[in-house]
Symmetry: C2
Subunit: 382 residues, 2 copies
């Protein structure tokens, strides 16, 4: 029986996690649920799964949840980042699902690793910002960081049973998002509504915009570097519009191992929880004869500049990926608020990176400082 | 250092094996080479690799090889099936590559397993005819049977590191051969030259015809059943004309692991020799962006009847696959000699199967008897 704390339980990944858990009550038990602001859904989840603890980032909403739950109910409710850290460290949990969005997941996820919990990680920004720190801590505590991202779940699966020293490179596939066919001119005037129309995946807003700019693949490059101990030049990107091949690993003999599946997050979530087992998900099977064709092409690095920016940040290392990530979060937010255009997203990030002097990432505080600096800096360019 | 005996060294697989071995003299040494009738090429190979032993199936040719090699050369030369068995059992070999064509490989391959040698198997007929016997013997002696077939090599790679009990099914891909687009009417008058034009793979004549009739996938279904301990209903076939995805394994969570590569036998041969390592082959890397599209469709079971015949034989079990295989070898031979048409191949096999009363396969002698009976029977229908 795996005892699970979910940080970010009301989001897209969190809800899917609960669906997987619900399918196998004999394997999984929910011990804690944490959400940002979605009080109503969290309340429903708490009533359904009856966890020992719950938390909301927002203090007044946490108090409201406490009021709504009968005293006899027995779920303790915490608030704020400290509340999330309480969930991360609670004795009853052996696995923490890190499914918050953006930089907010950093502190609670790091706390989970420090507390010796295995982490199922959907919140890639944590590794992007503080990869060196988190991975070193995980090694020291002997805990696993299992990716929930479909691409990194694919890579993890493709690495099973094959010697690491025989890996030549990994190939991250990208659907390309909704804007692949657009001209430079069209990209200039893209609206948030257009950018949010992802062809294959149903995801949160931040991730969907990252997918449209291809920054998602940039962040995934940095994530893959840390999770699988790769050099940046061992990580390639391939546009694959059907999102059936979720990623691949090429070995030294020319053999390529790929992981395929219907584009549904339940599979990587289920694998992260049951790793290294494959447990029944009751999803429809992939029918390749019905899919018909799978296509592949190189990404357009000139039109989608975020890719090269992320690659450069990964190669510079130190605090540069944290600066890139902070600037990207601000840029996406400003784009969604219609304060900047689609092509200004990479511009803001590039300017922030140019202004940044990389620092050694020796503590979470440094990461937070760089993040705060990058956000402020990015805003200053508008 | 792996010490290798190659049975069938002058064929397509054998020559490729020698190329792999030649690339890594620090890993592999040739201790024996055996060929059917190609005296000149075998002599060249013997002079190049200086094995301890060599053999030719043909007695007079073996004597000629003995004459040609200087006495001081030091390679002992054997003849006939007994000669091949000598190579299989020689103390100096730890791995035997079974790369003969058709039923001829049965006795020497079984002898190798009995002698406790690991077997790299290209000669799928051995498993088709005597799967139960060979696998039981391999388990008892603790030896590995590693497939060289690209499809089974793919499956082996896709099974690494994933629990066997989590496998839902395997999917064998088929290029479909050169006749996929043909109408029933066109198939009737197909010539051996047309059937021998394989679009992707450069293989021996027997295998190429099997690929055109899809019997190859039928034999591979039986092979997969034995090698990976599967039920017949766990084995599917998918037509994939580009021959880039070499086969796949679907797991219970819906995740599909596939092995891809350029269609070159060097990769599966290399993997069979270096298993479970992936050793540099110096082959050009697979460039999916250049390939562009991969396509998949269901096979046409009505036009290519060999598939269902093989499936039925696998389900009947006992000696039925040996009868199917014997009849197929005769039918292919007769087709190549223009004595029967392309569509008579399944007819001959079906008639032979209908006439066959399955026997328990309790010895190699039984297999040989059924094989001889099936060959005679199949001929009798012409």
């Amino acid at each position: 029986m795996k005892k699970i704390a979910i940080l970010g339980s009301t989001g897209s990944i969190g809800s899917n996690c609960l669906e997987v858990i619900d399918t196998h009550p004999e394997r999984y038990r929910v011990v804690a649920l944490g959400a940002g602001k979605n009080l109503d859904l969290l309340e429903k989840q708490v009533r359904r799964f009856r966890p020992k603890s719950a938390a909301l980032l927002d203090q007044p909403l946490a108090e409201e949840l406490r009021r709504r739950l009968d005293k006899a109910w027995g779920t303790e409710v915490f608030a704020g980042t400290e509340g999330f850290v309480r969930l991360s460290q609670m004795e009853e949990a052996d696995t923490v699902i890190s499914a918050m969005t953006g930089a907010a997941g950093l502190i609670p996820t790091f706390a989970a690793v420090r507390a010796g919990k295995n982490v199922a990680l959907a919140n890639k920004e944590v590794i992007v910002m503080a990869g060196a720190l988190v991975m070193a801590e995980a090694r020291e505590r002997g805990v696993s960081i299992i990716p929930i991202d479909s691409e990194h779940s694919a890579i993890l699966q493709c690495l099973q049973g094959h010697p690491r020293e025989d890996v030549r490179r990994v190939i991250l596939t990208a659907s390309g998002g909704p804007l692949q066919g657009s001209t430079e001119e069209q990209l200039k005037s893209v609206t948030p509504e257009q950018a949010l129309k992802h062809p294959n995946w149903d995801m949160g807003r931040k991730v969907t915009i990252d997918s449209a700019t291809l920054m998602n693949k940039g962040l995934e490059t940095i994530e893959a570097k840390w999770l699988f101990d790769l050099r940046v030049d061992q990580i390639s990107i391939l546009i694959h519009p059907q999102s059936i091949v979720h990623s691949m690993v090429e070995y030294k003999d020319g053999s390529v191992i790929a992981q395929l599946g219907i584009p549904d997050m339940l599979t990587p979530i289920s694998y992260a929880l049951s790793y290294p087992r494959h447990v029944e998900t009751f999803l429809p099977a992939l029918r390749l004869a019905e899919v018909g064709t799978l296509s592949f092409r190189e990404p357009d690095y000139k039109k989608f500049r975020c890719l090269d920016l992320a690659r450069a940040a990964a190669e510079t290392g130190e605090s540069m990926p944290a600066a890139l990530n902070g600037a990207n979060e601000v840029a996406v937010e400003l784009f969604l608020k219609r304060e900047i255009g689609f092509l200004q997203i990479p511009d803001l990030i590039e300017k922030t990176m140019t202004a940044h002097t990389p620092r050694r990432v020796d503590s979470i505080e440094t990461v937070q400082e760089v993040d705060a600096w990058a956000r402020k800096k990015a805003r200053s360019f508008v």
